[in-house]
Point group: C2
Chain length 352, copies 2
């Protein structure tokens, strides 16, 4: 049936479904394309006929009838380490509740692969796309606009981005965490960041740390930042490098929890206690942060809320129901055990 | 262009691409559909024209011309906890190398959702499908056969399954691990398993443990198994339940690493040391197993090899190149620190 554009006698048609369900073809079409406009009993009868006849709503026919396929695409940078898993799960559940199926692609943080996947999902008839962050070339946005496929960015927030966003303020969130680190007496601070090129979340988090340093009149030029891909082993390696300096940092802020788990592993290998000898912080508050030992002090991101709201916003865009307004969600600092007072100082502000 | 079945003057056609690239329309078609049959320089010129004109190969037209879309679908039970991430990443890389794009769907371990996603991916024109395990109703396989969409199962191996598999022997792997547990003196053994209904991997792992008990003349009826969904907190809760028995187990074998991490967390909360007071084992050897403390003794699954081989096998099926033969990959026991000798016995076989 996949290749069935021309008529094939063996293939059930919309007419067959209508006859079996005892309704008009228009009703069948509505059931497939605007199920919310059909009473539940009718919809159930039609869907039963669809299933009994094994009617696969022909892509072309459905697109012609409804200009909709009830498929949403999401392109995430990676499926590894479950960085996006929780948010995506909530996104999918909310889509499902509104009758949409989610197809996911992972770009391995490569812009060329992301572009290819955007085109593939559009060609496969995706009604709308969820993208992560705002860093991409203008032609891609122009392409989506010409194809009339609405897109929404998540995991970062931009007031006047090319597409609306349901995200959070990566910069302010990292700044708040860094201020807490500084409050605990740390002055020699270093950062292990994700690759900032093409990744607005990583860049904003670096800027947030710099903001906090400046506010405390600390020298931003003294800040050492190692950029590496988000893998546990890379975090461990970067940490080892940082600790080999003549004057090693007393606190290492990491661009996400995966790098922080790696840094903790690096500390263990060097025989350093966290946080007594060195403090480590994460970002994202994925499950890893809670499981690792010591559990990570990190930025809590409202993954499920973000996924749910992104689904509702994107479907509203697809269905043209209302103007979608970007939303900036709240983050918070999740205090666990990997951040402590600066070693060698006798002034733990929490236990004076 | 998405809805462009009828001719639209603004939309670039195959002819436009052919003219711009200076080749015949047949060559353009071949470039899009059988790129390996076109010399690289020609292919590059055509793809440049495709890009310059923003020609989106029309789904219907391409299907009619080639009966192929260069899209592969994968339906995995969950994106959480990165259980399938590493294998899927390798699968995608191997697909990409052969010119195919991967679209992923996650069924939340629900057969009805999986069926819906299979139909959605077929309707979106997937050339082939990767499925996890073999547990599904016969009509789904018949549907795939009628639609002529090849499918391959991974993560489990079945000699004469309805579809070929690139997997491993879950039963033998768990049996080997359980034998090691028994060798270390454990007699009171319990298991925390995933939900076995509809999950052949979970069922086979339970059977593997039973095989090992029988081989050592231990009573299978004494074995307590708690089934729960693969979440860290559920593992912790099940572990707490097991330890509240009058005669608690000395070793808890878990259906996967996620449950084992949960069990370790449960042990920590109860003030029990792992493995001095109680041993815990995992299955899968995902990154979590290495990171958690103590690091998990677990079954190592060759995730990347499986993903790579599954991609090659599935594309061979799609392209009808050769008969695909199922492959059973080797697993091994990864010894780390969560399994030790049975407490209270003075006979550590490794340190007599």
């Amino acid at each position: 049936m996949k290749a069935d554009i021309s008529k094939d006698d063996a293939t059930p048609t919309l007419d067959d479904v209508a006859r079996k369900a005892g309704v008009s073809t228009a009703t069948v079409s509505r059931c497939l394309n605007n199920p919310d406009r059909v009473v539940e009993a009718t919809r159930a009868r039609v869907m039963e006929a669809v299933k009994a006849l094994e009617y696969t709503p022909n892509f072309a026919a459905r697109v012609m009838a409804a200009k909709r396929t009830f498929t949403i695409g999401a392109i995430i940078p990676t499926m590894d380490n479950a960085i996006f898993a929780r948010g995506l799960q909530a996104f999918q559940e909310a889509l499902h509740a509104r009758g949409y199926t989610l197809l996911v692609s992972s770009s391995a943080y490569r812009p060329d692969v992301e572009e290819e996947q955007i085109r593939a999902l559009v060609a496969r008839g995706a009604d709308g796309l969820l993208l992560i962050g705002h860093d991409r070339d203008a032609p891609i946005y122009e392409y989506l606009e010409r194809q009339k496929v609405p897109a929404l960015a998540a995991w970062s927030f931009m007031e006047d981005g090319q597409i609306p966003s349901i995200g959070f303020d990566n910069r302010a969130a990292m700044s708040a965490l860094a201020k807490e680190v500084i409050r605990l007496g740390h002055r020699r601070i270093a950062m292990i960041s994700g690759i900032s090129q093409g990744n607005d979340r990583a860049r904003e988090r670096i800027e947030g740390l710099k903001d906090a340093l400046r506010e405390s009149a600390l020298d931003v030029d003294d800040l050492e930042i190692i950029e590496t891909t988000y893998e546990v082993e890379n975090g461990a390696e970067a940490f080892t490098q940082l600790m080999s300096r003549d004057v090693p940092p007393t606190a290492v802020l990491c661009g996400n929890d995966v790098l922080a788990v790696g840094a903790s592993l690096g500390a263990k290998r060097l025989g350093l206690r966290v946080p007594q000898d060195v403090s480590i912080t994460g970002f994202d508050d994925i499950e890893l942060a809670r499981i690792t030992s010591p559990a990570l002090t990190t930025v809590h991101v409202p993954h499920r809320e973000m996924g749910r709201k992104a689904a509702d916003a994107l479907i509203d865009m697809v269905e043209g129901k209302k103007k979608v307004v970007s939303a900036k969600l709240e983050t918070s600092i999740k205090k666990r055990h990997s951040l402590g007072p600066c070693p060698g100082t006798n002034d733990d502000p929490d236990h004076p």
